[in-house]
């Protein structure tokens, strides 16, 4: 009897947690090509960020102007009851991430322009965002995306 009495509030709490979930479901067509169209190199100094924000693809294309366009798709993986509950307690739902693109010229030197600025984006659990940037000129071939958790 006592055990049943203990189980009831636990079940209620669990139900409450499920009810509090505010995640995003997505549907997409099955990609016909490999998701990333370039090879990328990642330097991870924050493993929490790496695990919470999953990089899905890194793509580059040439715009009509001849300028390169970079797009990085990332999904907030902080779904599930415990992640949701913890995010709620720590005030990290939605998850806020800061990002900054830096473009490099043909010599590999960073090109500083008004297009290069730290920005924040709020990402709901399960949501996929696309970090996108256009190269400041047609001579830029490479890019670097900085990512960090925002305070």
């Amino acid at each position: 009897m006592n055990r049943k009495l203990l189980l009831a509030p636990a079940a209620g709490l669990l139900l409450c947690c499920f009810g509090c979930q505010d995640t995003v479901n997505t549907v997409e067509n099955e990609p016909q090509e490999p998701v990333s169209n370039i090879r990328d190199v990642r330097v991870v100094t924050d493993k929490f960020l790496r695990d919470r924000l999953i990089i899905r693809s890194v793509r580059m294309a040439t715009a009509a102007s001849g300028n390169q366009v970079a797009e990085v798709a990332a999904t907030n993986a902080r779904t599930g009851v415990f992640s949701q509950a913890w995010s709620g307690i720590t005030g990290e739902n939605p998850y806020t991430v800061a990002y900054k693109f830096v473009w490099m010229d043909e010599a590999g030197m960073a090109v500083e322009t008004n297009l290069s600025a730290w920005r924040t984006v709020q990402i709901k659990p399960g949501e996929t965002v696309f970090f996108k940037s256009v190269a400041p000129n047609a001579r830029c071939r490479d890019f670097l995306l900085n990512l960090k958790e925002s305070d």
Partner: protein, 233 residues
């Protein structure tokens, strides 16, 4: 023991003095994540955000690129025609004539705030110019934009006896602009209890001044929210 007793008030005084000190330091002006934002007015970071978004849209616009390509073909034909008619084309003109000349026109301020739209227009002009897509003029500009009076003043120097006549600039050499950047900024606010919302909508257009047709248009709303403290007024 006495020495320690003396140290305590000294440490307390040092802590007090350090907490009273004001610290002024440089920060990254393009870092919108740490920028201090005005609750009810446009802030420096808002200009950074709109410049970045509009700049990205402009540099990737296929329709604007179509216009630039058509302009290049027309300019090349016009130069050949002028040369055939005996007009002397300078080397500088040959180098630059394939790109349209941009003029910063008026950004209408439909907010109750004093807004210096140069914080947007001059940054966008810099992005466009450094991308190699356009030239820009400082001879003519819309209301609220900067004009460099030196071009007109330089032509008056020919009457100055100290000026070498050969170096005096002639009339009829300033280029007319081809493109103009104009727009409007609209502010909207909303309040529900202690929740406040403020947004700025930027509508920007690039117009081909030879036809009066728009070649690029962009709208972006920047929205910020804040919750007023229960005890604040």
């Amino acid at each position: 023991m006495k020495f320690r007793l003396l140290l305590l008030p000294a440490a307390a005084l040092a802590a007090l003095l350090s907490s009273c000190a004001t610290d002024s330091h440089y920060v990254d002006a393009t870092d919108t994540t740490v920028a201090v934002k005005n609750k009810n007015r446009m802030s420096s970071s808002d200009w950074v955000v709109i410049t970045q978004d509009a700049g990205n849209a402009l540099l990737a616009s296929p329709l604007f690129e179509e216009y630039l390509e058509a302009y290049r073909i027309d300019a090349e034909a016009a130069l050949k025609e002028a040369e055939a008619a005996g007009e002397k084309i300078t080397t500088r003109e040959k180098l630059t004539a394939m790109k349209p000349l941009l003029m910063l026109s008026t950004i209408q301020n439909n907010t109750s705030e004093h807004i210096d739209s140069k914080l947007l227009t001059e940054r966008l002009r810099e992005i466009l110019f450094n991308s190699g897509k356009v030239r820009f003029t400082t001879y003519a500009a819309g209301e609220g934009q900067s004009i460099d009076a030196a071009t007109a003043q330089a032509r008056q120097l020919k009457n100055d006896p100290n000026i070498k006549k050969r170096t005096a600039l002639k009339k009829g050499t300033v280029h007319a602009y081809d493109l103009s950047l104009a727009g409007v900024i609209i502010k909207q606010t909303a309040q529900d209890g202690r929740n406040n919302e403020m947004s700025y909508t930027f509508n920007l257009t690039l117009t081909d001044n030879s036809t009066g047709e728009g070649v690029w248009t962009y709208s972006k709303e920047i929205k910020r929210q804040h919750k007023q403290g229960a005890l604040s007024w």
